[in-house]
Amino acid sequence: MFGYYFDLALRSLRRNKVLTALMVLAIALGIGASMTTLTVLHVLSGDPLPGRSSTLYAPQLDPRDMGDYQPHGEPPDQVTWIDGMNLLQAKRADRQALMTGGSVAIQPAQSALDPFYETARYTTADFFPMFGVPFQYGHAWGASEDAASAAVVVISSKLNDKLFGGRDSSGRMLRVEGHALRIIGVLGDWRPNPHFYDLNVKNYGGSEGVYLPLSASQDLHLAHLGGASCWGNGGADATPTAPCVWLQFWVQLDTPPQAAAYRQFLIHYSQEQKSLGRFQRPPNVRLRNLMQWLDYEHVVPGDVRLQTWLALGFLLVCLVNTVGLMLAKFLRRSAELGVRRALGASRRALFMQLLVESGVIGLAGGLGGLLLAYLGLWLVRRQPADYAPLAHLDGAMLLMTFLLAVGASLLAGGLPAWRACRIAPGLQLKSN
């Protein structure tokens, strides 16, 4: 039966090509615009570490002085060196890493390559197992290298391609800011987006080229890159003794009770620091998991949400337009439908036939919309935004395009089909 309806639909659509083309175009435009913005929203609000994100938390403490104090204010986004080290050494979580961003000059051994700056991550060892970072060659460093401030470095696969032509470079030396560091590992393809663990650098596309132990970065006086927020009389930014927050601290807590216990630990820690005189404010802690953290930091640009709503509104306009066109088309065929009714087709059967016809229009519109979405995403990628290069259609969004298109066209076809089925067959036959 479905095949027959499909055949009828194709014949009917072929009969009035202009009207069909207009309907398909209306749906295609609406779907194209909506899918472009929905894809951007989908990419930007995605989970950077699927499967792991629910166990990763960003603890926040409030070490500031009473200047600018407001009750119920949010604690800073980052931690001080002293608190970071204390929490790290307390080892109350399954895994924990203290880190910050940097920028280092790389001096390639090959004379063909000029020295260049590369973004760096200075971190403690748990960074790699905690975030599930894949390795192409070699391995990460461990707690002993952290303790010894070992001059070791892990590089990204992109940097490895640039410096060593993609060959296994573990064991070789890399000159960083005039210091010789031994490469112990090369990362696989690892580009978490958003750049969740440090949103001060870049929200999207901020993956680093070199990773080295935080202790070594301090010993070698490597430059800090990222946010530093100071209070009181300040001091030199981003140094261990300064009253500044400039490091990110992440913990892995596998179960909700563990997270609750860690929260209690943070409160106890704040109370202890207050009684020691280091903290002045009452305990003010937060323990957000990764997705809550991204939400709190408003990582997805407000513009993108707004554009999505505008595009969906545009889709609605296109649908209303399609409803009008379908109404004209279906009602014009009253005579044909009357004959079918007289020959014994039920209203239900007619309704189904007309819905199949709208579904076919939706499918064609979806195909057109897909092409327009590809065009739209190509235009988005040409924008000078951090997230622009990420705007690509994936399998889920491809499926979504067709579901949305067919769903929308069935919705648009419902009212005209219902109207067309209600005609009295006798009247139609007589008038012919």
């Binding site: 600018d68 407001q70 000059a105 700056y117 800011e177 306009v317 209303v320 009008g324």
Partner: protein, 167 residues
């Protein structure tokens, strides 16, 4: 012109009339919103920064490794830039206005006992900066050369030079 026949036609095709009304209303709402948003953006772009935007060239230097003579080297670089024909003023600065995420700012208070900050203001450090940026002083005066404190840690740091050229 009599409007009644028009209304009665519309009345006879109620669904079509409502569809048209709905479509026009929705389109209007979306277009108005979009125009308003674009207008807002354009307004932001037109905010006067007070600096001679069209006459300024920003140059970033990158020294690799430690340079003990970084300050002297920076002075030589600035002197070289000054000699370029058409360059009106040259200054070394920690940052330039509207230059993106790399911002340095300070909280300001007007009284010593004030709890809440009055505002957070971007901070710019550099010699001959006002003249180079083309900023107009409303009152008071610019720094005297002997009032400048040299706290340059230029070693391995990137610095920004602004060159004001004849526009």
């Amino acid at each position: 012109m009599d409007i009644r026949p028009i209304l009665s036609t519309l009345n006879r095709h109620k669904i079509t009339a409502w569809l048209l009304i709905l479509q026009i209303a929705l389109t209007c709402a979306i277009v108005c919103n979009a125009v308003f948003l674009i207008h807002q953006r354009l307004q932001q772009m037109d905010i006067a920064s007070g600096i001679a935007e069209h006459e300024l060239v920003q140059i970033k230097f990158a020294y690799i490794g430690d340079r003990p003579d970084a300050y002297a080297q920076a002075q030589t670089d600035l002197a070289t830039l000054r000699q370029i024909p058409g360059a009106q003023a040259v200054a070394l600065a920690n940052q330039l206005p509207l230059s993106g995420v790399d911002m340095s700012s300070s909280c300001l208070k007007l009284h010593p006992n004030q709890r809440q900050n009055t505002l957070e203001a971007a901070s710019y450090y550099g010699q001959n900066l006002l003249a180079t940026l083309g900023v107009r002083l409303i009152s008071g005066r610019d720094f005297q050369p002997d009032e400048l404190l040299d706290r340059f840690g230029i070693s391995a740091a990137r610095i920004v030079a602004a060159v004001k050229a004849i526009g």
